[in-house]
């Protein structure tokens, strides 16, 4: 099945789903004001796209989302690098982290709104708290997966701890961090809408939905808001996946076909020529490390192992967040 057929089938599936919603809405299983048919909802959603106040609502939500996510990155990445490279700190802080993490972040909404009131601070705090974990755990996990040979090589050449961290470990961990960021981005959107839904006044996408719910005949507006929330989620995820592919093309190997992988995996660094011959592990490894590829196979000559198995894909391991299992391809 080629790409075009897949797209056509996908469009057909979307149409079928819409048709089903339409049918349920029109059949009168539930009252029409309770569950309006899909066409009305979509028309309303399109109409909302030109609505100034609605766009302001979305902008407010997105701003809180971006702020919270940015703060989470600023906290989680350095902390993850610290935890992953200094075992003593890891041991010391781990218990506190394990203590904090299982708490469902939505449950913090009442406490934080009592502490900070219902405003942007509350929202950003909650988003930050919930988004820290995936990034943090993926960073620590990615550091553990760095090619030890590349690190040893740099050490042999007299590089210090910090420059090894910056030259080898950080680039090698970057794909993991971005995968964590993608999970966090979705979580952040969940928290943003959840907080707004509960606070009930002010501005934001969630507040638009909460207020529409109170109006008579408001389900159509609620559903239109939900459609936009879904579109936001899709766009955010799509942009991040696209960015991931652009920035780390070799990671595609973990997903794509083997043959295509090898080509994609050799091209970016251009170190294929050096790799030829008897698998000179030293220079290749450090080149791979500097290039940022979690490119373990490169250290052992070409074809030693299928590259699909060694690219930096976070596998489910330990915590659910470190798993990229949910990720679409």
């Amino acid at each position: 099945m080629n790409r075009r057929q897949e797209l056509a089938l996908g469009a057909l599936g979307a149409l079928l789903a819409l048709g089903a919603c339409e049918a349920v809405g029109r059949a009168g299983i539930v009252r029409r004001s309770y569950l309006p048919p899909a066409s009305e909802v979509l028309a309303r959603a399109v109409e909302l796209a030109g609505d100034r106040t609605f766009l302001d609502d979305v902008a407010v939500t997105l701003r809180a989302w971006a702020l919270g996510l940015g703060l989470a990155c600023a906290i989680a990445i350095p902390l993850g690098l610290l935890l992953g490279s200094v075992p003593v700190v890891d041991d010391a802080v781990r218990a506190v982290i394990e203590f904090l993490r299982p708490l469902p972040s939505v449950a913090l909404i009442p406490l934080v709104s009592l502490l900070l009131g219902t405003g942007t601070e509350t929202e950003v705090t909650l988003i930050t708290y919930a988004s820290i974990w995936p990034i943090l755990f993926n960073t620590v996990y990615g550091l553990g997966e760095t090619d030890p040979l590349a690190k040893d090589t740099l050490r042999t050449f007299g590089f210090g701890r910090l420059s090894i961290l910056l030259r080898v470990e950080l680039p090698a961990t970057a794909p993991f961090i971005v995968a964590g960021l993608r999970i966090s981005a979705a979580t952040a959107l969940v928290l943003a809408t959840a907080t707004e839904l509960l606070s009930g006044f002010g501005q934001g996408l969630g507040i638009f939905i909460a207020q529409a719910q109170l109006a008579t005949d408001g389900t159509r507006d609620v559903l239109a808001g939900v459609v936009w929330a879904g579109v936001l989620g899709l766009v955010i995820n799509g942009v991040l996946v696209w960015g991931e592919r652009r920035a780390f093309p070799w990671r595609e190997g973990a997903r794509g076909t083997r043959g295509a992988t090898r080509a994609a995996w050799r091209s970016p660094g251009g170190s294929g020529a050096r790799r030829g011959g008897s698998g000179g592990s030293g220079p290749t490894a450090s080149a791979a490390g500097r290039r940022g590829g979690p490119d373990r196979a490169g250290a052992h000559g070409p074809g030693a192992a299928p590259p699909g198995g060694v690219t930096g894909r976070p596998r489910e391991h330990g915590s659910g967040e470190a798993a990229d299992g949910e990720a679409p391809t």
């Binding site: 979307a14 506190v96 299982p102 839904l197 989620g233 030693a304």
Partner: protein
């Protein structure tokens, strides 16, 4: 979370065998020492942090951050000081914790069963997968809390609405992961199954499920945390009469911070127990297989071996 797989996936390269063994022995000893030190350090730091909080809260006397000892005491008084016959649960606990847990368990089981079933169906055929993929991606991209108001209108307040919210948000990770796992089944082995004329049920049991299992569990873990979140969230909304989330909003409206903290501790403990429980089940069920699959370097051979181990 790190450590264990590294020395396995590291290839010997041009090290000598003896050097490698020595290295491994050294590494093991070092790791044991580190683990012992780590366990000690962890407890120490946790105790220190709690003590600092306790002392700080007492010195400050802040209403917002009560000392941990009082929170624990309050939680105990609220929920766990009941008679022995009721497993030490107070009537308040029976009213609060059990309904929540019941809804969550029902939602999770429903989402898991339906998700795995549909996922296998969708993942079996490339056409079905292409057909459903955009819809599934959209459904998963929806932030689940936004749908709760819709369910509030469509279903009755209370359990039906909460159950619908939980199931609708928890089903997507399982469904998508199962579909991808089933889709990744080795085509060669599907051919072998066709040659051996395995029935559909046998193919499902011996081929599709085992190969999708690691992905299914990854999906289940994501679903479980979503279930917990949605359980709390759906109870936070007005119109619920019982449950942990209700206790939380109730305490919030009375500005009873001690109870808010106690509920948070309870939820944290619940989250921890549920996650650990599911992990233990996963370990038991997948055991070696998921581990082998993880080192995909020797992808095919290890998987075939694990299959052999299963059928004997």
């Amino acid at each position: 979370m790190r450590g264990a797989p590294t020395h396995e996936s590291r290839r010997p390269g041009d090290h000598g065998a003896a050097a490698r063994t020595a290295h491994l022995v050294g590494e093991t000893a070092a790791r044991t020492a580190r683990l012992a030190r780590g366990a000690l350090l962890r407890r120490l730091v946790l105790v220190l942090a709690l003590t600092a909080w306790q002392l700080g809260a007492r010195a400050h006397g802040s209403v917002y951050f009560p000392p941990p000892a009082r929170i624990a005491r309050h939680a105990y008084d609220l929920w766990f000081s009941g008679p022995v016959g009721h497993a030490f649960l107070t009537p308040a606990a029976v009213d609060t914790i059990l309904p929540s847990l019941g809804r969550m368990a029902a939602g999770f089981v429903l989402a898991a069963v339906v998700g795995v079933g549909l996922g296998i169906l969708v993942g079996r055929s490339p056409r079905a997968y292409a057909l459903c993929d955009p819809v599934l991606q959209f459904a998963r991209a929806l932030p689940p809390p936004t749908l709760v108001p819709v369910f509030v209108v469509v279903f009755d307040f209370g359990t039906p609405m909460q159950l619908a919210s939980i199931v609708f948000s928890a089903i997507w990770p399982v469904l998508i992961n199962t579909a991808e796992g089933a889709r990744d089944t080795d085509p060669l082995r599907l051919d072998v199954a066709a040659v051996l004329r395995l029935t559909a049920v046998e193919r499902l049991w011996f081929l599709l499920l085992p190969s999708a299992l690691p992905r299914i569990f990854a999906g289940l873990r994501l679903s479980l945390s979503l279930c917990l979140i949605l359980m709390v969230f759906s109870e936070l909304l007005p119109g619920t009469a019982n449950g942990i989330g209700f206790a939380l909003t109730d305490a919030q409206s009375r500005s009873d911070l001690l109870t808010v903290w106690a509920v948070l501790v309870l939820l944290g403990a619940l989250g921890y127990l549920l996650n650990t429980g599911l992990l233990a089940i996963v370990k038991r069920l997948t055991g070696k297989r998921s581990h082998e699959r993880r080192s995909k370097g020797s992808h095919k051979s290890s998987r075939t071996e694990s299959r052999k181990g299963r059928s004997t």
